[in-house]
């Protein structure tokens, strides 16, 4: 039964001709720790995003799906797709509801130490989106490289994610529309729920920083302070995060609003 469900889920995930740009923000996926060999993780999210241009609002509903597979204890392959539904759009920007281009990524374990009372892990990753859809907005790739680090003393978790992304890279012009640096720190603590075996509640606090360097305008920086929670069981993880925008009014043209992220992770 589980195998059948898994096959259907994998098939759906790989058939969806969509994508979602890589961002360091949001709930981290094990950061500097690579999962076990043959481990399959399916992560589904709903993201409510509200941006503003002047007084005009734009509301988007992003639904990314991530499938990760532990090729070996040291190498993890990840594929991310997503559907973007545009809700309210008062701006002059043309935005359509559509499947995005697929995004493929590989994560490599660089260092891991499992001590009696703590775990330390460092992993590097590289990935890019692929413009395979006819309706792809830019026909460009968005390569990203990064380094993640995790420190897990006892019931605490400290995950630091760092990514550098060339957004919409034009191979002909050898230039990207913008270059972004993402920094994200997630702190959480497991609380063992009394009377419920193998379930854990983990309040999460994330701090995100994004530095944007567009090719045609001035650079800007913004961030998010994000309280949230996770409920973890051996095969399921529920995630919730509310991202409170900080300093977004100084970003060129766009004011980023607060965001809500809800997620479900299946682990096989």
């Amino acid at each position: 039964m589980i195998n059948k469900f898994l096959n259907i889920t994998l098939l759906l995930a790989f058939l969806l001709p969509l994508a979602f740009n890589s961002k360091a923000e949001g709930i981290s996926v094990d950061a500097g720790l690579t999962p076990a060999q043959d481990r399959i993780i399916v992560r589904m999210q709903y993201r409510n995003i509200i941006n503003k241009m002047g007084d005009n609002r734009m509301v988007m509903h992003m639904m990314p799906v991530v499938v990760a597979y532990g090729l070996s204890p040291d190498i993890t392959l990840m594929m991310r797709n997503g559907y973007r539904a545009v809700g309210e759009n008062e701006t002059m920007m043309e935005m359509e509801s559509q499947w995005m281009d697929p995004f493929l990524m590989g994560k490599v374990k660089l260092y891991r130490l499992n001590a009696r009372n703590y775990t330390i892990g460092v992993a590097g990753f590289a990935g890019t989106s692929f413009p395979i859809r006819n309706g792809s907005t830019s026909k460009t790739y968005s390569p990203v490289v990064g380094l993640n680090a995790s420190y897990r003393p006892g019931l605490w978790s400290f995950d630091l994610n760092n990514a550098y992304e060339w957004v919409n890279y034009h191979s002909g012009e050898k230039q990207s529309e913008t270059r972004q640096m993402h920094l994200n720190l997630a702190i959480s603590r497991n609380i063992i729920l009394p009377g419920i075996e193998n379930w854990v509640l983990a309040p999460v606090q994330e701090f995100s920083f994004v530095n944007d360097n567009p090719a045609s305008s001035e650079s800007s920086a913004h961030g998010f302070i994000s309280p949230g929670f996770q409920i973890v069981s051996p095969h399921l993880k529920f995630e919730g995060l509310y991202q409170i925008a900080v300093n977004s009014s100084k970003s060129a043209g766009v004011t980023y609003g607060n965001r809500l992220i809800l997620g479900l992770r299946l682990m096989f």
Binding site: L155, N198, W199, V232, P234, M267
Partner: protein, 119 residues
């Protein structure tokens, strides 16, 4: 003198019969243990470092259950251990179990206890 001879003879007969019973009992218990080897599950327990949530438990259990001869496995991130139940008569080496723990990206510690034919 005859009384002492008879007494000595009686004591000798008692000792030899008693030792026969004791050896027979030892043999019996050996036979019973040997039978247990093929009918009971051997259970081994290992310390494991690196697990920090229930998700880690299922990842480790999946790896250990792949070993031929393992009937069931139960990992605990709280206790930092995995308890492995072997199939009756199965012979699984420590190296094989430790390799699987490492494939789950965790580190094996001490073998904490064994219940079954290694007792």
């Amino acid at each position: 003198m005859k009384y002492f001879k008879n007494s000595f003879l009686l004591i000798a007969i008692f000792i030899s019969s008693a030792s026969t019973v004791v050896f027979a009992d030892d043999f019996k218990s050996e036979v019973i243990i040997a039978e247990k080897d093929t009918t009971q599950n051997k259970v081994v327990c290992y310390e494991v470092f690196g697990m920090d949530c229930p998700g880690c438990q299922s990842a480790l259990e999946k790896q250990v259950k792949k070993i031929d001869g393992v009937a069931d496995a139960k990992a605990s991130f709280k206790e930092k251990e995995v308890i492995i139940k072997l199939k009756p008569g199965a012979d699984v080496s420590d190296e094989e179990i430790e390799t699987r723990i490492k494939k789950a990206n965790f580190t094996p510690g001490k073998k904490k206890s064994t219940v079954g034919n290694d007792q």
